[in-house]
C-alpha cells in the first residue's frame, strides 16, 4: 500500500485561481522525495493539505489508506516552515507534550539528538536562536516513528555546518516503512539524500518526476542544475 495517495486535488485560495489544479500523486513506502518548485507553485499548500491544515476544494487524499483526519494525523510527522511553540515553554516541556499526544514518539531518541546538537533541554524556547528553534522542531519531528514525514523547508534557517548533521539525522532516523517528503529551495544541500524528486510547476502541475539517481545519470546534470534549467525565468 502506498503511504500517500492523492487524486485530482484542487485547491483555490481565491475563486478561479487554483494553487493546485488536479494534482495526483502516489508516494510508496521507504522513499525520500524532494518536492521542488518555484515560489508560489503550491508546495506548502500541498503539504498543508496532507497534514490536514487545509481542506481541498475537490479531490481525494489518503495516508496509508486513511482519509485525511484524526487517524491520518497520527501517522504524519509534520515540520512546518515556522516555529510553532510558545516561547515560554522549555525544551523538555515540549518533549513531554509530544510524549503525551503521540504514541509513536521516542523520548530517548529526542534527548539523544538534543545532546548531539548541544541543545540544553532546560532551555526556554524564547532564549534560543531561530536556527536552534528549528533544530528543536526537527528533533521532535524526527523522534517520531511516523509513516509519513512532511518537512517544509527543514534546513532553510540553519547554518551550513548543521545542515549536514540534520540531513544525516533525517536519513538515519526515519522508519524504513515510512516516506519523507521534503520541500526546499536548497536543492544542492538536500540532493544527496533524495531517492526521488518531483518538480512542481505553477498550478501544481507535475513537470518532471522520477528517481534522482537515474535522472542525474541520464541527463548528466545535478537536480539543482536541472531545476534551474526547467524553471529559468
Amino acid at each position: 500500500m502506498n503511504v500517500l495517495e492523492c487524486n485530482g486535488i484542487v485547491k483555490c485560495y481565491k475563486k478561479y485561481v487554483p494553487v493546485l489544479n488536479g494534482l495526483s500523486l502516489s508516494i510508496p513506502a521507504g522513499r525520500i522525495i524532494g518536492l521542488l518548485g518555484p515560489n508560489g507553485c503550491g508546495k506548502s499548500t500541498f503539504i498543508k493539505l496532507v497534514a490536514g491544515l487545509l481542506q481541498p476544494d475537490s479531490g481525494e487524499m489518503s495516508v496509508c489508506g486513511n482519509p485525511v483526519g484524526e487517524k491520518s494525523k497520527a501517522l504524519i510527522s509534520y515540520l512546518p516552515e515556522r516555529p510553532y511553540f510558545g516561547g515560554g515553554m522549555r525544551v523538555k516541556e515540549i518533549i513531554h507534550y509530544f510524549t503525551d499526544f503521540y504514541g509513536d514518539f521516542d523520548k530517548q531518541r529526542a534527548y539523544k539528538l538534543l545532546a548531539d546538537l548541544q541543545i540544553n533541554p532546560e532551555s526556554k524556547l524564547k532564549t534560543l536562536s531561530k536556527g536552534t528553534k528549528e533544530k528543536v522542531q526537527l528533533v521532535l519531528v524526527m523522534s517520531r516513528n511516523a509513516r509519513l514525514y512532511l518537512l517544509d523547508e527543514p534546513i532553510a534557517g540553519v547554518d551550513p555546518a548543521a545542515r549536514e548533521y540534520i540531513l544525516g539525522t533525517i536519513v538515519s532516523n526515519y522508519n524504513p516503512e515510512a516516506s519523507i517528503i521534503i520541500t526546499t529551495h536548497l536543492i544542492t544541500d538536500v540532493e544527496q539524500v533524495l531517492d526521488d524528486y518531483i518538480f512542481l510547476g505553477f498550478g501544481g502541475q507535475v513537470l518532471m518526476a522520477g528517481n534522482a539517481e537515474d535522472t542525474r545519470n541520464q541527463s548528466g546534470k545535478s537536480l539543482d542544475a536541472l531545476f534551474k534549467e526547467v524553471f529559468r525565468c
Binding site: 481542506q55 483526519g69 484524526e70 503525551d100 499526544f101
Partner: protein
C-alpha cells in the same frame, strides 16, 4: 485526548489566575475597610473620608479588572493556540476538531465561572466587612422574604438560575470564540483588531435585541399576568426561566455548529 488537552489548557489559564484571585481578595478586604470607614459615625477628618472613597473606587476597579483579565486570558489562549503559529501544532495533533473545541470551551467556561464565584465571594466579603451587622440583618430579611413569599419553588428558581448562569457563560465564551474564528477566516492580517471589531459590532446588535426583548417582553408578560393567582405567577416565572435557559442553549448550539464548520472547512492559518 480531551483530558490531556484540558490539562494543558487549565495549566495555562490558571497559571497566573491564582495570583489575580489572591490580590483581588486582599483588595476586597481593603474595600470592606473603606466602606466601614465611610459608614462609621465617628467624626473623621475629610482627608480620611476622601482617601477611603478613592480606595473603595480603586478596589471595585481592581475586581472589575480581575474579571476582564480572566476573560482576556481565556480568549488569548484560544487565539494563540488556534490561529497563531501554534495552530500548526494544534491542528496537526491526532485529535478531532470537536475535541479541541470542547477542551477550549470547558476550560474557558470553568475559568469564567471560577472568576464569577471568586468575585461574588469577594463582594460578599467587602459588604460583610464594610456593613457588619447591617449586612447580615439585610441577608436575614432577604432569606425570610424568599422563604415566606416564594416558598418551595425558590429551589427550582435557584436551579434554573444556576443553569442559566452556566449556559450563559458558555454562550459568552462561544460568542467570543466565533468572533475570533470569523476574524481569522476572513483576514490574515490584523486578525485581533478584526476580532475585537466583530465582537463589539455583534455584541451591540445583541444588546439592542436583548433590551428590546426585555422592554416589550416584560411589558407583555406583566400585562398577561393580571388576574393570575400567586401560585400561577410563580409557575409563569419558572417557565420564563426555563425558556430563557433553552433559548440560550439553542444559541450555544448554533454557535458551536458554526464554529465547527469554520474550523473544519475554513481554517486559514497565517
Amino acid at each position: 485526548m480531551l483530558k490531556k488537552l484540558l490539562r494543558y489548557d487549565f495549566a495555562f489559564l490558571f497559571r497566573y489566575w491564582w495570583i489575580g484571585a489572591f490580590i483581588s481578595l486582599l483588595v476586597s478586604l481593603v474595600g470592606g475597610g473603606c466602606i466601614y470607614v465611610l459608614n462609621s459615625k465617628a467624626d473623621l477628618p475629610d482627608v480620611v473620608d476622601v482617601g477611603a472613597g478613592l480606595m473603595l473606587v480603586l478596589s471595585v476597579f481592581c475586581l472589575v479588572a480581575f474579571a476582564i483579565l480572566s476573560m482576556i486570558i481565556v480568549f488569548i489562549r484560544y487565539y494563540k493556540n488556534f490561529f497563531s503559529d501554534e495552530g500548526y501544532l494544534t491542528f496537526t495533533l491526532p485529535v478531532k476538531t470537536s475535541t479541541l473545541l470542547a477542551s477550549k470551551l470547558i476550560s474557558g467556561v470553568s475559568a469564567i465561572l471560577a472568576t464569577a464565584f471568586v468575585i461574588g465571594a469577594e463582594v460578599f466579603i467587602m459588604l460583610a466587612a464594610g456593613f457588619g451587622d447591617e449586612f447580615t440583618g439585610f441577608l436575614e430579611e432577604l432569606w425570610k422574604l424568599i422563604a415566606n413569599e416564594v416558598g418551595a419553588i425558590s429551589i427550582l428558581y435557584a436551579v434554573e438560575l444556576l443553569m442559566i448562569l452556566v449556559v450563559y457563560s458558555a454562550f459568552s465564551v462561544l460568542f467570543a470564540y466565533v468572533c475570533i474564528t470569523l476574524a481569522s477566516v476572513i483576514t490574515r492580517k490584523a486578525r485581533v483588531i478584526t476580532a475585537i471589531g466583530l465582537y463589539y459590532g455583534a455584541n451591540s446588535v445583541l444588546n439592542f435585541g436583548r433590551q428590546m426583548f426585555l422592554i416589550f417582553g416584560t411589558q407583555s408578560l406583566f400585562s398577561r399576568m393580571d388576574g393570575l393567582s400567586g401560585d400561577e405567577i410563580k409557575a409563569v416565572f419558572a417557565l420564563v426561566f426555563l425558556a430563557a435557559f433553552l433559548f440560550i442553549a439553542l444559541l450555544c448550539g448554533f454557535m458551536y455548529v458554526l464554529q465547527r464548520y469554520m474550523l473544519d472547512k475554513k481554517l486559514n492559518l497565517a
